[in-house]
């Protein structure tokens, strides 16, 4: 399978703080990846570089063979942690915004997902709860027919029932020509989604392994495996 994203020797400093310290990895089409690691391990910085939000870094990042920039924004769907919709918008305005500016936005798909998420188009965004805003952001991002989805803490503030609903939506709508990278702490929630995990620690990829291989070779869940790796990592 061909790689949609390839990263070599990626480094990023914030002043004296080294957020990424020589990341080398590749992401294949048709897979869902878990980018897992403790706080300040560099997950968000990594995703922001891939989304062309951070332009100053060392090393090489290629999305479909192209450096992140204006061209790749059309094929990368990024879900940030922060709420980014202006308060004056209604749900329908947010749909129109995505429809206007992202050519790959699938409006019927969006409307189906929003119905599943129990979001009213006439609702004002300012009146939505944190969980409802998370649902909206995720619904719109998943409604794009992007090549690469970068989801940063997609399930923050989402209740367990909705979370299961979102995971079902993701599994049902996943296009096997695209790739999803999920950065999250809620490993147990997303375990059934993951094909492969990449463990990030202090700005470096320390393990790359298929989720199925973890289960078969260690008899542990991805969450248990993560705890074991990072307990040992902290001890060293």
């Amino acid at each position: 399978m061909s790689e949609i994203l390839s990263v070599s020797n990626l480094m990023k400093n914030y002043g004296a703080v080294q957020a990424l310290n020589g990341v080398n990895c590749g992401f294949e089409r048709g897979k869902i990846y878990g980018l897992l690691g403790p706080n300040a391990s560099g997950k968000t910085t990594f995703l922001k570089i891939c989304a062309a939000l951070i332009m100053i870094y060392k090393g090489q990042v290629l999305i479909d063979g192209v450096k992140p920039g204006l061209a790749t924004k059309a094929k990368v769907a990024y879900l940030p942690v922060d709420d980014y919709f202006p308060d004056w918008m209604k749900v329908s305005d947010a749909i129109n915004f995505f429809s206007d500016f992202f050519m790959d936005f699938d409006r019927p798909k969006a409307e189906n997902i929003l119905t599943d998420m129990e979001l009213e188009k006439s609702s004002s965004i300012t009146n939505l709860s944190h969980g409802m805003k998370s649902r909206l952001k995720l619904s719109l991002v998943l409604s794009r027919r992007a090549h690469l989805y970068l989801l940063d803490e997609a399930f923050d503030g989402v209740d367990p029932v909705t979370r299961e609903k979102i995971i079902d939506v993701m599994l049902n709508t996943f296009d096997h020509e695209s790739t999803i990278i999920l950065a999250t702490h809620h490993i147990d929630y997303v375990e059934r989604l993951l094909d492969e995990v990449k463990l990030l620690s202090r700005g470096k990829i320390i393990r790359e392994i298929a989720a199925e291989e973890i289960r078969q070779s260690t008899g542990k869940s991805v969450g248990e495996y993560y705890l074991e790796v990072f307990r040992n990592d902290k001890a060293t």
Binding site: K12, N13, A52, L53, M55, I56, P86, W88
Partner: protein, 228 residues
């Protein structure tokens, strides 16, 4: 382009308009007090200066609020060049000058009891528009400079002193204190450039220079924000 204009118009309608009116309301009592002072000494140079300063400062304030260019993550993510975003934002803010004109006319009418009526000529209104555009370009330029400093300081480990300067510049377009600071810079630097009472040739020349400067700042801002 049309979609961007429509979207920016909505942003200005919802946000800038409220801010602009709030600023006008805040400035109204100041103007009223100033009128009282002027009325006490009508021959004073202050009379002329204060009234025109009000027009200038309000134009700058409106320009400042309009230049709250929506650079949040959502706008960074859409596949549109930053220069287009800035230009459409400025164009979409233009209709709100009409609101400014109406507000200022009402304020001037209210103040007639205390001072001479002040009616701005068409040339003076053009000056206000130029100043309005200049102010917006100036703030995008500040944003670009702060982005540039921030990007470079973060990758090359400079001293904490320079980091501090970087942080201050970064916050410049955001706070109230920076509003006063930045506005006063624009006001002082460009007041002499676009003299309201100068002769037509001088006025035309200075207006031209100011517009060229605005376009220059606009392109620099677009380039820097795109690259960093």
């Amino acid at each position: 382009m049309i979609r961007l204009l429509k979207y920016h118009f909505m942003i200005h309608r919802h946000r800038t308009l409220q801010l602009s009116i709030a600023i006008m309301i805040l400035l109204a009592p100041i103007f009223w007090v100033a009128s009282l002072i002027i009325n006490a000494t009508p021959e004073s140079i202050l009379n002329y200066g204060m009234r025109y300063s009000f027009v200038w400062i309000s134009a700058l304030a409106l320009g400042y609020t309009s230049s709250f260019f929506p650079i949040n993550i959502l706008h960074m993510l859409i596949p549109v060049p930053k220069l287009y975003l800035i230009i459409t934002s400025i164009l979409a803010s233009m209709p709100f000058l009409l609101i400014y004109k109406i507000t200022i006319t009402i304020l001037l009418l209210l103040s007639q009891e205390y001072s001479e009526p002040l009616v701005l000529s068409s040339r003076q209104w053009v000056t206000v528009v130029i100043l309005f555009v200049l102010t917006q370009c100036f703030f995008y330029f500040l944003l670009a400079v702060s982005t540039l400093i921030k990007a470079h300081l973060k990758v090359s480990k400079k001293s904490s002193f320079f980091m501090l300067i970087g942080s201050s510049v970064k916050g410049l377009p955001n706070g109230f204190s920076s509003l006063i600071f930045s506005t006063s810079i624009v006001f002082k630097v460009f007041r002499e450039l676009v003299l309201i009472e100068s002769n037509l040739t001088t006025w035309g020349f200075h207006s031209f220079v100011t517009l060229v400067l605005s376009v220059f700042m606009l392109f620099i801002s677009g380039y820097v924000l795109e690259k960093y």
